[in-house]
Assembly symmetry: C2
Homo-oligomer: 216 residues x 2
């Protein structure tokens, strides 16, 4: 499948590489057409990998990942173009992290709103699915890094898009039973809020190779 | 041990009953000396159970549980009296839930502050330990309701107080390895933030008999 990955940071590169390894054609998008990180990634990732602007990464693809920093996601998506996102599954991996109050970061929105909802409100024709935002990027694409059972959460309004994301997550190595559908896009408040605990656990555990399992 | 439980709601009654069952002398405190729920609880809980005002429940005890609604916790603690809380371990079980925006609730403070910190800042001589606020009250006092391994988080500035809380949690049935010390009281932002995910999981699972296990 042709896919676009917005963002050239560690999360974007890790997800884009996994998608290429799975046989997808991936365009990594950034603010400028000549982003050095995107160029280096495409050269290294090899066949199926290309790079360009945010709009280049959203045009002509079937599915788009938002892996930009949460504080810049809306602007990046505007650059990608609402018309290029319309009708497509938009997997929002970003968290609205606020580094202005020091470390660990807090959240730019929390409780009464979420980045996932902000994106869905502004890009009404995109099918936004919040997913994978509750863990380190290495764990996102290789859940077996963390031993035993643990879970990934999805939130979104479109059932077809969520089914597509489930399938993609399974191709990443997530067992079907580990994908927990929290509900519509407002439930992104839950997975984004959990980041506050994730950040503290990261501090205690000293590694990003962890996750949570919901036990009931 | 003599203990005070502030709050007459389900959380307060459940914890107070467990403490009495474990052989502690427990005074349940409320705004007024003649609170009907507190009176009924004390009559039913039997030997070792008494009730009174918030101040009655904090005076002459060794340890105090804050089980009041988060939106009213500071006021309840003021009524209990800073002088009665000084030098004591104050286990803060409350969450700063904000029901003014509808259901599920959001948080009155989040990310850059927490109820646990607000309490510690105002009652500087109390040894505040945030604990048990990431689960239903039945699970707090009977972790075996949820099968398998799952965790409870503690946050606080005083190591002695946290050791005391660990011991108390073990007496509730929590295995030593399931108590995760997140760090100082600012880490209460983590466990309180997780509530946003807990609320959504509650909606999906349709039961409060669940918890999370940190897997690494």
């Amino acid at each position: 499948m042709r896919m676009g990955v917005l963002g050239t940071g560690m999360v974007g590169r890790t997800i884009a590489s996994k998608l290429v390894a799975l046989g997808h054609e991936v365009t990594m998008g950034s603010r400028t057409a000549d982003n050095e990180a995107a160029r280096a990634w495409a050269a290294e990732a090899g066949a199926g990998a290309s790079h360009g602007t945010f709009a280049d990464a959203a045009q002509g693809v079937e599915l788009v990942f938002n892996c930009t920093a949460g504080s810049g996601s809306l602007e990046a998506l505007r650059a990608a173009g609402a018309e290029n996102l319309a009708g497509k599954t938009l997997i929002d991996v970003a968290n609205p992290l606020d580094f202005s109050h020091g470390m660990p970061p807090s959240l730019l929105v929390s409780g009464t709103d979420s980045l996932g909802e902000q994106i869905q409100r502004e890009f009404q024709d995109a099918k936004v699915v919040k997913a994978l935002n509750t863990m380190n990027c290495e764990v996102m694409v290789d859940p077996a890094r963390v031993p035993g059972e643990h879970d990934v959460f999805i939130s979104g309004n479109d059932h077809g898009a969520k089914a597509q994301v489930r399938e993609l997550l399974e191709s990443f190595g997530w067992p079907a039973g580990s994908v927990i559908d929290l509900g519509d896009i407002t439930t992104a408040r839950g997975s984004e809020g959990h980041l506050l605990l994730w950040l503290r656990l990261w501090g205690v555990l000293g590694t990003g190779d962890f996750n949570i399992k919901v036990v009931s």
